[in-house]
């Protein structure tokens, strides 16, 4: 118990006679190797020097020196999301740990497996306000799936292996291991991953087959069905995406996805309706509102998806597949909950659909598609084109066309550019799209691109950025240069915190309080100062050639794309409105459309 705040010493797993004795620092490295880790992202400091010393004396694990601990965490997130493996971070005590908090929270909300190892002051100094002491487990308790302060070196191997198990299984998430400096020096017996079994942590990943049967029953009788898919499909692994495609091919049901789920289902398919939610397409949101059977696969009815909750899809029966039982009935009551791993559940759904010889209601489905086609005819992503100004939508479309067929990974920052990218860039495969969905962290995309490029050296890794966001973690350009990571930072420079400006226009009478990006750096010179390549495009006619120049450069590139500063991102469901109350681009010029109640929401 809490009484003296110490990790109670448990009987360590029995080590064989003559077992390997390692220092705490060596244990960390050995455990990482045994867990298959190839890269870690970090930043040194006094309280982790023994671990850095152990890193120095080995060659199996590559350490990537970032320029800020937040950057290290986002790099690890990008690495994790693009590979399906956990991301590993190493930081020092105090400020090192506090700088990692944003990345931890980001990973918690987007279910990204991260293992963050922090140095801590020596055990006898804990609680004395020692130099660079912070209550790291206290601070990170609310932004990790679990965390540990390891006060006895004998516990360290067990904790290291448990950390990987907890971070990567069930609903993935970040964990923190806080290791006092004296523990890093002390020697203890090492045990491998196989000899560790957690005392309490269990994951239920097999679906209840009774629920599966109920689900396919509902699906077979549906007249207006819809798949609403999310990041859970991606997290489950590529098999889940494959099975989703099979299930859609078998049923012909339409598919929409959350921001986190893009790529699980190919955007080129006729069944694809595009993004759902606040900036989702007209057809996706109307289909959500009007469907009679909603099949939610690995999504969590987030407020950005549902809009006003009591007006959300009022007439549908809802099937909800999630590996995390606490997501069931959290925001929306559902009719058929399935707590399971997505791939396992989809496999059973396919199996029962086939063996029970289920048929869709073809006539009803035909009418449903007819209705959907009418919504599609609205062409809700259309925008007013221009020959003088680069429209941000145009820039993304050109980027997509000119990078098509290449081995592309996209990361983003947060703001309008992120939403335009989500709306317009067409993803065909999972793990190609890295964005900060739950936390909405400006500064995510550039370091995430560093992590992605580290994992995929030959790929084309592009951060679709805003000029404000990208300045939050710009220093990671230096990391990219150091490690020869030719990341491409495609800045849609509208000179505004565009998303803030848009809300101020809609909600605050056009009073643009502190949303103009004054005193912007010269991004071309900035790129050159870092040793990268700088590019600028001011007019639509020069865009294609510059994009090609960017792609062909062997260096990291900052590309300053000067876009229309006044463009707004539509469609949009204003806060506090329902899915069928979206505003479209032409309907909306300079008017206030949000109720006072809606203004309270974010």
């Amino acid at each position: 118990m809490d009484r003296d705040g110490t990790e109670l010493k448990m009987a360590p797993p029995k080590a064989a006679v003559g077992a390997l004795e390692l220092s705490g620092a060596e244990t960390v490295i050995r455990a990482l190797k045994d867990q298959g880790v190839k890269h870690i992202f970090g930043y040194p400091g006094g309280a982790v020097l023994p671990i850095y010393d152990a890193i120095f004396q080995q060659e199996d694990i590559v350490h990537v020196l970032c320029r800020h601990e937040q950057g290290a965490t986002h790099a690890a997130e990008g690495y994790a999301r693009s590979t399906g493996k956990p991301g590993v971070v190493l930081v020092t005590s105090g400020p090192g740990a506090t700088n990692a908090v944003t990345g931890l929270t980001d990973a918690l909300l987007d279910s990204i497996p991260l293992i963050v190892i922090c140095g801590q002051v020596a055990t006898h100094l804990i609680g004395t306000d020692a130099f660079q002491e912070a209550d790291t487990v206290g601070i990170t308790r609310a932004c990790t799936k679990h965390n540990w302060l390891v006060k006895d070196v004998d516990d360290l191997p067990r904790v290291m292996h448990e950390a990987f198990q907890i971070a990567t299984t069930g609903r993935p998430g970040p964990v923190v291991i806080d290791i006092p400096k004296d523990v890093q020096f002390k020697k203890g017996p090492y045990v491998g991953p196989a000899s560790v079994k957690h005392r309490t942590y269990r994951v239920k990943s097999d679906p209840d087959l009774g629920q599966i049967v109920k689900a396919i029953e509902l699906m077979a009788n549906a007249k207006k069905p819809l798949f609403y898919t999310g990041g859970g499909i991606i997290n489950s692994g590529p098999v889940a995406s494959k099975l989703l495609r099979e299930l859609v091919a078998l049923t012909g049901f339409p598919v929409t996805s959350t921001l986190m789920g893009l790529g699980a289902f190919p955007a080129s398919s006729p069944e694809w309706l595009g993004l759902v939610g606040m900036h989702g397409t007209y057809e996706a949101n109307h289909a959500m509102h009007d469907c009679d059977v909603m099949i939610c696969l690995g999504a969590r009815f987030d407020d950005r998806v549902t809009g006003k909750i009591d007006l959300f899809s009022p007439d549908s029966k809802k099937i909800h597949l999630d590996i995390d039982p606490s997501q069931i009935n959290k925001n929306v009551r559902v009719d058929v909950p399935i707590v399971a791993d997505a791939a396992k559940a989809l496999k059973e759904m396919l199996h029962f659909w086939k063996t029970h010889k289920k048929q869709v209601d073809a006539a009803a489905l035909k009418d449903w598609w007819k209705q959907i086609d009418q919504w599609r005819a609205k062409k809700s992503l259309d925008y007013k084109t221009s020959t003088k100004l680069i429209k941000p939508q145009y820039a993304i479309d050109r980027l997509y066309e000119l990078t098509r067929g290449r081995n592309v990974f996209i990361t983003t920052e947060v703001g309008q550019h992120q939403m335009w990218a989500a709306q317009r860039f067409k993803f065909e495969e999972p793990n190609r799209w890295m964005t900060s969905g739950g936390l909405g962290t400006m500064g995510y995309g550039l370091p995430a691109a560093v992590g992605v490029q580290m994992a995929h050296p030959d790929a084309l890794v592009i951060d679709i950025a805003g000029e404000a966001s990208v300045q939050m973690t710009m220093q990671e350009m230096s990391t990219a240069v150091q490690y020869d990571l030719p990341i491409k930072i495609f800045i849609l420079n509208n000179e505004y915190m565009g998303m803030v400006r848009q809300w101020q226009q809609l909600l605050h009478g056009g009073r643009y309080s502190h949303s103009y990006s004054e005193a912007l750096p010269d991004f071309v010179k900035l790129a050159e100062a870092y040793g990268g390549m700088g590019l600028r495009a001011q007019t639509p006619d020069e865009l294609d050639a510059k994009i090609m120049e960017m792609i062909d450069s062997p260096k990291p590139v900052l590309f300053d794309v000067r876009v229309d500063p006044k463009e707004n991102c539509y469609p949009m469901i204003p806060s506090g409105r329902a899915h069928n109350e979206m505003i479209l681009s032409d309907a909306m010029e300079e008017e206030t459309v949000v109720s006072d109640e809606g203004k309270m929401l974010v």
Binding site: D2, R141, A142, H146, L149, T200, S326, N329
Partner: protein
């Protein structure tokens, strides 16, 4: 249309590790749930387990979330809601100090006998009563003592257990 607020007693069996109480309490404060009372103590030294008993209140949906969120905590072995699961037995103990002389003092002593409270400390002008029972019984006792010179109350919070031979 708001769902009614209900009061529930939830028992959480946890692994006895550093910070586990902070995890439970932090979950309630972080997600805006109520804690009406909370008791915690080690229940099995050899097995390293402690039992946390929380009395909380909320709509049925909130109570369902509280249970689900508690089950997500890594060091949690099991969670039982004594209000919706098999009805359990709930007891709380309180120490109640009443100061006064004359009629009020006599009346306090008379009422304490009705409630089967024990007198565990006496001076010429004060009593400390020890009383055990369901929380409502203690509420009633404290209310009755108020006009009779109540000066201090210390309550343990609720301990709960199921009827019959099974463990939680």
């Amino acid at each position: 249309m708001r769902a009614p607020i209900e009061r529930h007693t939830i028992a959480v069996l946890v692994d006895n590790e550093a910070g586990v109480l902070a995890r439970v309490v932090g979950l309630f404060s972080g997600r805006g749930y109520n804690i009406e009372s909370l008791t915690v103590a080690e229940v099995d030294h050899a097995a390293h387990t402690s039992r946390v008993t929380v009395v909380t209140s909320g709509t049925p949906e909130v109570i369902e979330q509280i249970e689900a969120q508690l089950r997500r905590l890594v060091p949690v072995h099991s969670v039982v809601n004594w209000t919706t699961a098999a009805p359990g037995i709930e007891r709380e103990m309180a120490l109640v100090k009443v100061a006064g002389t004359g009629d009020k003092r006599a009346e306090a002593q008379r009422i304490s006998a009705i409630f089967r409270a024990h007198i565990v400390d006496t001076t010429h002008n004060s009593f400390v009563f020890e009383i055990t029972g369901a929380p409502e019984k203690i509420d009633n006792f404290v209310d009755l003592m108020r006009p009779l010179g109540l000066v201090d109350v210390s309550r343990t919070g609720v301990a709960a257990i199921s009827r019959g031979p099974e463990a939680m």
